[in-house]
Symmetry: C2
Subunit: 210 residues, 2 copies
């Protein structure tokens, strides 16, 4: 769902987008409401390929997998050294009941785990603090008057991501520093999941008032 | 520092406030810039007593101790059954370097630990997501246009705290549900500590844009 939203939104502003899946044929065979095949038929401008084929030659790779599938998926994509990996995933763990906790937290994070596991990539954590539709259409909530966080070890990579975010309409992009700041933005999922129930909708996010 | 700010701010709106310390005489002997004795001399309207004497007969007790001193301090106060305990502390752990992590997180929290340890008290977690001066003077930042969270197991206790917050000028008090939501609000400290450096001041907090 997050991948579909990002792919559609990035294609809309004229990026060339290919969605990677484990098994493109099987993905395309999923029809009906919310099925990937149905979505793909409505988005002919978006390519579909294996993880590795989708990542080949990409200027930017987005990890929009679920948290627990992220390491295997990014590994399977065999992404070229130096590529910017925009990680929007959250390390959700529903194994202890609802609301989910995180399977890595406090002194480590999924963003850091990805950067450690794939040291030749340039990981930038962002966008995980909002629902998928807001990632590519921030103007749909309060005219975009909220904050979007980036963190990562590579300044140039953060600049690339920040320019992309700005082109999508993100008005207040805050650079939190190195990738260890993923601990902070991933932990915001804990209150996000509570607020989801209170607000009664996923159309909310955080503004840093300062 | 948090206790002084809260005591001063609550006394200013005409509450009868007594600060509890381990050793009131020793506290009052701390003079000079930021010393408790100096502050107390400037706030004659605020009482000073032992933890237990300060809590005796109180309608509301505030835990403004450091996270790691909270259990012992609340225990020493021998607070009467049924009393509302407003917990504003954060379980900061600087033992692994800076910025601090949390000594309890993700699947548990300080708020829950206090409620479990003192089941006869009615614990309400709030105000831990902002700097001390904003707790009692929210209008000093963006005319108070930000969000303040409460959570706890007792509805009546949350109503009491919400009324207090509103009387202080908190404009958007969000009830996150039971005390387990402390996990979410305490985890916001992880990004708060990062933002502190980025913003260059502690005068910031979160608004839930919805």
């Amino acid at each position: 769902m997050v991948g579909q939203s990002l792919a559609g939104g990035l294609a809309r502003i004229r990026h060339q987008v290919t969605v990677g899946t484990r098994d493109p044929k099987a993905s395309l065979a999923r029809l009906g409401e919310g099925g990937f095949g149905t979505w793909a038929a409505q988005h002919a401008e978006v390519g579909i390929a294996t993880f590795a084929d989708a990542a080949a030659g990409a200027d930017l790779v987005v990890n929009a997998l679920s948290g627990d599938a992220s390491l295997a998926g990014v590994g399977a994509a065999s992404i070229a050294d130096g590529t910017v990996l925009l990680d929007v995933a959250n390390p959700l763990d529903a194994s202890h009941g609802m609301p989910p906790s995180l399977f890595v937290a406090n002194t480590d994070s999924l963003g850091e785990t990805l950067q450690r596991t794939f040291p030749a990539l340039r990981v930038v954590k962002s966008l995980n603090t909002m629902t998928a539709s807001l990632m590519v259409a921030p103007g749909d909530l309060a005219d975009g008057d909220f904050s979007t966080f980036v963190c990562g070890d590579d300044t140039e990579a953060k600049t690339l991501v920040t320019e992309l975010l700005t082109s999508l309409g993100h008005r207040d992009v805050i650079d939190l520093g190195d990738i260890t700041a993923s601990r902070g933005v991933e932990a915001m999922m804990l209150i996000w999941l509570r607020l989801w129930g209170v607000v009664g909708s996923s159309m909310f996010t955080y503004k840093i008032v300062r």
